[in-house]
Symmetry: C2
Subunit: 322 residues, 2 copies
């Protein structure tokens, strides 16, 4: 396929077009992705997540600069699941990265939409695969917010960074376990702000409670890095910690990396099946004779959606699942 | 069931406990929801969506006040899909509504989490059903952001309001068709800000392009209401427009309402089936003999997830779907 060859050669126009097709859910993009799949898995993927306003984009901009100085090529993906608006805050953020816009070794894209049945995670993974197949050394994936979508997205990364700012002390207690478990590195950005020590201490206490068991060789304890991205402070240390986490992940005879890749592959497979299944079920239900009366039964409260859903699963689907 | 009786009687403690169970995904909540289902459908549900910072919570607070003055009881649900943090901005927003906290006819809840396979829309609908079964006249559902999750959530409402602010003129062109199609009413809040007329005009032009066809009796043209929620300006007009939309929705011999309820029921059914299906497939795949080698094949790139997903669907699922 000509598109495949071009992307493997790093062609920006072809890649940009494919990424747009993925974002728009164009079916032909699937065939290209299938052909690219064997060529993926070479890039190192770093996920960066955190609330709007913590300075993620400035941090990402400085990370790009630092990786460029180290001679690495980059793919950068900004994901904003909160907004099908293409403008707004995210646009301002992109502008901050413009200084890299003319660098042929930095390819920056953003994703904002998703299919009706929730395909943003799927799209993000596909775009990461495209950047990977293009031969980028490092892929930075920035997401807005720290919700479930973002967690799903960042866990596809080799190293996941959660960015906080000082003064979130009270909120840290409210961080749900899910976030804690996915963070490989915590960054406290805007470190010049009041409350830095308290926030870092709160994080340490939380990690102590969470990671009481295990010894240092077997368990990764997320380091906490203070940064002032705007003046480039702490960025070199952050890159060192990413490298340390990479060494940890690739160590142990490759067993950890393999486990990471297996979990990632499983989630990808489930997402793909779910997407197909929902499309199939919607199509078949809508075209079944019973459809109209089923919906009437629901509207007229002769049955509830849980019971009907269970019935449909039992009659039409469960017995066939092997 | 005692819990069902108590909720039908409007008992706040029992309802609050059930809503927590729904948010946490406790299976027993399903049984209560099934029993409540026949008692739902009496409340009028209004969805309010828009970016953070447009003043939604202040607007909701004023709407609560106005509905209370009209003698209506209210259920209010704040949904924040961007964050499993329970603190942060949303907490500040809730505080703004505190003046209604002691009013027994105003029941305010928030939802922030969701199951791993994306059950926020499902949870939100369930909580709306609980508030409805409690006998509330009006249910206000506020969501942060205008992404797909929010669209799914607000479309369960009878009337959907999208809140903007002046100066979003350039961004309006970027509003994806999805948002336009779900909005029954546009609010331009913070109307004292510069650019009000431009934003309202941009909206009008956009609606003109979208709604060129059809006559006034058959097609609802979303009105645009300018508000200054902070000083309660425009709120009475907004309530009139909601009432006008209700009259439209309930008119035409009930056909429009029926169609709305049918679409809602269909989406609910699909969500329920998808949730069950994913749980079943994950369980069965993980326990199948071929599982380990399947995942190895993916990790070692002997097959791609699209092709494998298609195979699993074809071999195990498709032929059984009726």
């Amino acid at each position: 396929m000509e598109r495949v060859e071009k992307i493997l050669a790093g062609d920006i126009r072809t890649a940009a077009k494919l990424i747009r097709d993925i974002d728009d859910g164009i079916p032909s993009s699937r065939e290209v992705l299938k052909a690219l799949y064997p060529h993926t898995g070479r890039a190192y993927v770093v996920g960066i997540s955190g609330f709007p306003g913590v300075g993620k984009s400035t941090l990402v901009d400085q990370m790009i600069q630092a990786y460029r100085e180290a001679g690495k090529s980059l793919g950068v993906l900004a994901v904003d699941p909160t907004s099908p608006f293409s403008g707004g805050a995210i646009l301002g953020d992109r502008i901050r990265m413009q200084r890299h816009g003319t660098d042929p070794d930095v390819f920056i894209r953003s994703l904002a939409t998703r299919g009706h049945f929730g395909g943003l995670t799927r799209s993000t993974r596909s775009v990461i695969d495209v950047l990977d197949a293009m031969g980028k050394d490092i892929i930075l994936v920035e997401t807005v917010g720290v919700g479930q979508d973002e967690v799903d997205i960042v866990t596809t990364a080799h190293t996941t960074i959660i960015v906080l700012i000082p003064g979130m002390g009270d909120d840290i207690q409210a961080i749900k376990a899910g976030i804690l478990e996915v963070a490989d590195i915590f960054v406290v950005n805007k470190a010049d702000r009041e409350g830095l020590e308290k926030t870092m201490n709160d994080l340490r206490v939380m990690l102590d409670m969470n990671n009481a068991q295990g010894n240092a060789e077997e368990v990764w304890r997320p380091p906490i890095v203070a940064t002032e991205a705007i003046s480039n402070k702490g960025v070199a240390e952050l890159l060192s910690e990413i490298e340390a986490h990479k060494v940890f992940l690739f160590g142990h005879g490759g067993a950890r990396l393999r486990e990471h890749l297996r979990q990632k592959a499983f989630r990808e497979l489930i997402d793909t099946i779910r997407e197909k299944f929902v499309a199939e079920v919607v199509y078949r239900l809508k075209n079944s004779e019973a459809f109209e009366s089923m919906i009437d039964d629901l509207v007229d409260k002769r049955i509830d959606p849980f019971t009907l859903g269970d019935q449909i699963m039992a009659e039409r689907i469960n017995k066939c699942l092997k």
